[in-house]
Symmetry: C2
Subunit: 185 residues, 2 copies
C-alpha cells in the first residue's frame, strides 16, 4: 500500500460516548492515516471518552473532535464504524449518527463496519439485499433486517466492508483502504 494512497481523502470514524472496542477504533484510524487520509473522530458530544477492551476491560482515552450534528456526510469520502457491544448499542440510539450512515450507504460511498458495529446498519435500514458479516450474535438481527449474513473474515458489497471481530482487523483495514481509494461506487 502506497503511503499516499488516500492523500486527498477525508475519513470519518465514529466513537461512542462509552463502550467502543479499543483496537476497532485505533487500528483502522491508524491504517487510514498511514495511507495518507485526513481523519475526523465523530461522536454525540465532543471531549474525551474511554474505550474498552474485550467489551468490559478499560481501554484508552480518546477525543471526539466533532459532533454528528455539526458535520455533513457530504464532507467525507470514507467512514469507519467500530464495534464494542455497548459502543455499537449506544451509537444506534443517536439519530444523527444513524442518518450519517444511511446517507453513506444510499450513496454507496465506502464504509467499514466491524463486529457489533453492523447494528448501526440495521438501525439505518440499509441492510436489505446486502451481503455482510458481523459478530455472530448479530446474525439474526441482520437476517431479520433483510440482509444476507455470511461468516467470513471480511466481506465487501458495493463499498460496504464488514468484519466479525478484532482478529479480522488486518484484512478489514486493507479492504477499507482499498474501497476508499476506489471511491464512490
Amino acid at each position: 500500500m502506497m503511503a499516499d494512497t488516500l492523500n486527498d481523502s477525508n475519513v470519518a470514524i465514529f466513537l461512542a460516548q462509552r463502550g467502543t472496542e479499543e483496537p476497532e477504533f485505533t487500528e483502522p484510524k491508524q491504517a487510514v492515516e498511514d495511507a495518507g487520509a485526513s481523519v475526523d473522530v465523530l461522536g454525540t458530544e465532543t471531549g474525551e471518552v474511554e474505550t474498552v477492551n474485550s467489551d468490559l476491560e478499560p481501554g484508552g482515552s480518546y477525543e471526539i473532535e466533532k459532533t454528528f450534528s455539526e458535520v455533513s456526510s457530504d464532507d467525507y469520502d470514507g467512514l469507519v464504524v467500530p464495534g464494542g457491544t455497548v459502543g455499537a448499542d449506544t451509537l444506534r440510539l443517536d439519530d444523527d449518527a444513524v442518518s450519517f450512515i444511511r446517507e453513506f450507504a444510499e450513496a454507496t460511498k465506502p464504509m467499514g463496519v466491524i463486529c457489533h458495529g453492523p447494528w448501526t446498519l440495521v438501525e439505518a435500514d440499509v441492510v436489505e439485499g446486502r451481503t455482510l458479516t458481523s459478530y455472530p450474535s448479530l446474525e439474526t438481527d441482520i437476517r431479520n433486517a433483510g440482509g444476507e449474513w455470511v461468516d467470513e473474515e471480511v466481506v465487501v458489497d458495493e463499498g460496504m466492508v464488514t468484519s466479525r471481530n478484532p482478529d479480522d482487523l488486518p484484512a478489514f483495514c486493507e479492504k477499507v483502504i482499498e474501497e476508499i481509494d476506489e471511491g464512490q461506487h
Copy 2:
C-alpha cells in the same frame, strides 16, 4: 403480596458468563424468593461469575448453579431473563438457553424479560405477533422480528412480562410474581 404466593413454584433465572446487569438479576431473584418460590440460577457453565452495573462498572459475584444443557424447561414454572448489553448479547449465543426460552414461550408459560434481555426472545424467534417493550435500542430488532414494540414501564402479553430498564424493576417484579402465580396461559 402474600409471602407464600409462589410456594410451589420453581423459577429459573438466567445469568450470563459476563455482563449481566446486577439489579436485573438480584432484584427479581429476591422478589420471587420472598414470594416463596424456589429459584435455580442457570448459565452456560457452573461456577462464580461477575455482574456489571450500568453495563461497564463492576457488580457482584454470583454462582451459576446449573447449566442450560443439564436442565429441562419442563421442570420450571417461571423464567426470568435479566439484561445487561453484554450479558444479553452473550446469552443469545447459547443454543440451549435459546431453546429453553423458545419452549417457555411456545407453552405460554410465565416469563419476565427486561432491558436488553429481549434479544434472547428475538433469537428464539418468539416475538412475532407479540406486544413487548425493552431497552430502546432493541426497538428496531424487535419490530424486524415481527413484534409490536411499545414504550411502557411494564408490558404483559400472554404471560410474557417485559420492561425497559432497572428503573422499571418494581413494576416488573410485581407482574412477574402475578404471572407465575396465575400459571401457564
